[in-house]
């Protein structure tokens, strides 16, 4: 660690070269996970690659296909974007819950997702929104659905030298709404015991024609639960459908018991939180 170097490349190519060439590089965006890991010595990088100076990672704009924001855009910058907040309230519910105001001043969605915690607060909403990451590496560029990024606790599918450049939140059809909710013992400052991101789309008659439900903190990775979507699609998301949704959520859990919650508690409350998230998404879908 005392031989650790700090680099702040100004271009993507330079960043990729550094990340590919070092033996144990660590990418630094907001740093709210990285600095903790340095402090408790769970990582011992040889190079810290600070990507905050790279222009492509700092974009935030509505495009033809949807909203795009860069990997180095901080949570606060996103929250201060009124149009983004209006367009994606569920995503922003996840962003707001990343941590304190101080943490949000630095933390990024990319960092939150790619840190690979199953309990990350932005990942379920991003998955429910069908968000897609643009990734650049030594072998070029690729698009990765967010649900394919995290493959295990603390592990991503990114290859050595690869870096997330930005995320696209694809424009949603009319009568769509999304939401993120989580369960924590305190009102703030906790890691989610259970998290649920939900997105639903209704047709003109109010019947659900598309749904995505993603659960966090109940498995080694954030989950995209097809069975939850199946419980909703084709229904008017009435009480019976919501009950089936809750059951599907509990059934999909494969949690551990740890200092943040027992297995049994997570299984029970996954149903409750998933249901509440879907209810709020439904309210938003009806209003859109």
């Amino acid at each position: 660690m005392e031989d650790m170097r700090y680099e702040a490349p100004a271009t993507l190519d330079a960043a990729v070269a550094l990340l590919s060439g070092a033996s144990a590089p660590k990418l630094l965006a907001g740093g709210t996970d990285v600095l903790v890991q340095l402090h408790i010595e769970t990582i011992e990088p040889d190079v810290i690659v600070d990507v905050k100076n790279i222009p492509e990672l700092r974009t935030m704009a509505k495009e033809k296909d949807g909203w795009r924001f860069g990997a180095a855009v901080s949570a606060m910058e996103m929250l201060e974007n009124a149009d983004l907040c209006k367009a994606w309230p569920g995503i922003m519910e996840g962003v707001v819950l990343i941590g304190s105001m101080q943490v949000k001043g630095r933390a990024t969605v990319a960092g939150n997702v790619c840190n690979g915690s199953p309990a990350a607060d932005t990942t379920p909403a991003m998955i429910a929104a069908s968000a897609i990451a643009t990734v650049i590496g030594p072998n070029g560029q690729r698009q990765v659905p967010v649900e394919d990024i995290v493959i295990g606790p603390g592990k991503t599918s990114l290859a050595k030298g690869e870096v997330v450049v930005s995320f696209l939140l694809p424009a949603q059809p009319p009568h769509s709404g999304e939401c993120y909710m989580r369960l924590t013992p305190r009102t703030e400052m906790d890691i989610a015991v259970v998290g649920a991101g939900a997105s639903v789309t209704l047709d003109d008659s109010g019947t659900c024609i598309a749904a995505r439900v993603s659960l966090g903190a109940v498995a080694p990775t954030p989950l995209l639960v097809q069975a939850c979507a199946d419980a909703l699609i084709g229904t008017k998301i009435d009480d019976a459908a919501l009950t089936r949704l809750g059951e599907a959520a509990s059934a999909a859990c494969n949690p551990i018991s740890d200092k943040r919650g027992t297995k049994e508690y997570r299984i029970k409350t996954a149903a409750v939180i998933a249901r509440r998230a879907v209810e709020r998404a439904l309210e938003r879908a009806k209003a859109n």
């Binding site: 660690m1 005392e2 650790m4 170097r5 740093g31 903790v36 901080s74 943490v103 630095r106 400052m189």
Partner: protein
Amino acid sequence: MAKKSHVTTTVNGDEYEFLSEPGQTLVDALRNSLGLTGTKEGCSTGDCGACSVQLEGRLVCSCLVLAVEADGKSIDTIEGMANGDELHPLQRQFLELNGSQCGICTPGVLIAAQALLETNPDPTETEIRYYLAGNLCRCTGYDKIIRSVQAAAAEMRGS
């Protein structure tokens, strides 16, 4: 021994230089390299807010920022909050209303409250509580902290 980085930074309007060890945090640099001990270190993991500063006008935990990242940037700490011997209304109200007991969390709370009032001059009680959720206090139970912020906000609005 690894090479240190030469960092030039502006703190409370004054220019400072120091040599940063790799991995050194900003809170460590402020306190130990620059002697500005008003910013406190309570946990080193961003969970208590005692190390709060403004970095380029943004409220952050300085334990979660590398010292090298301060190069070329401006930082505001508690030492710069008063204007000479004229206290900021927040500081004054904390004194009047007993918003500070042991005082260890106070610099971080004041910096955070100042950032709040800069963006939201008329916050509700709930908004203040959620904004300050990242600042742990063990002495006050938060009651008089919230009241001090409310009083300062009212004073600054000229009510």
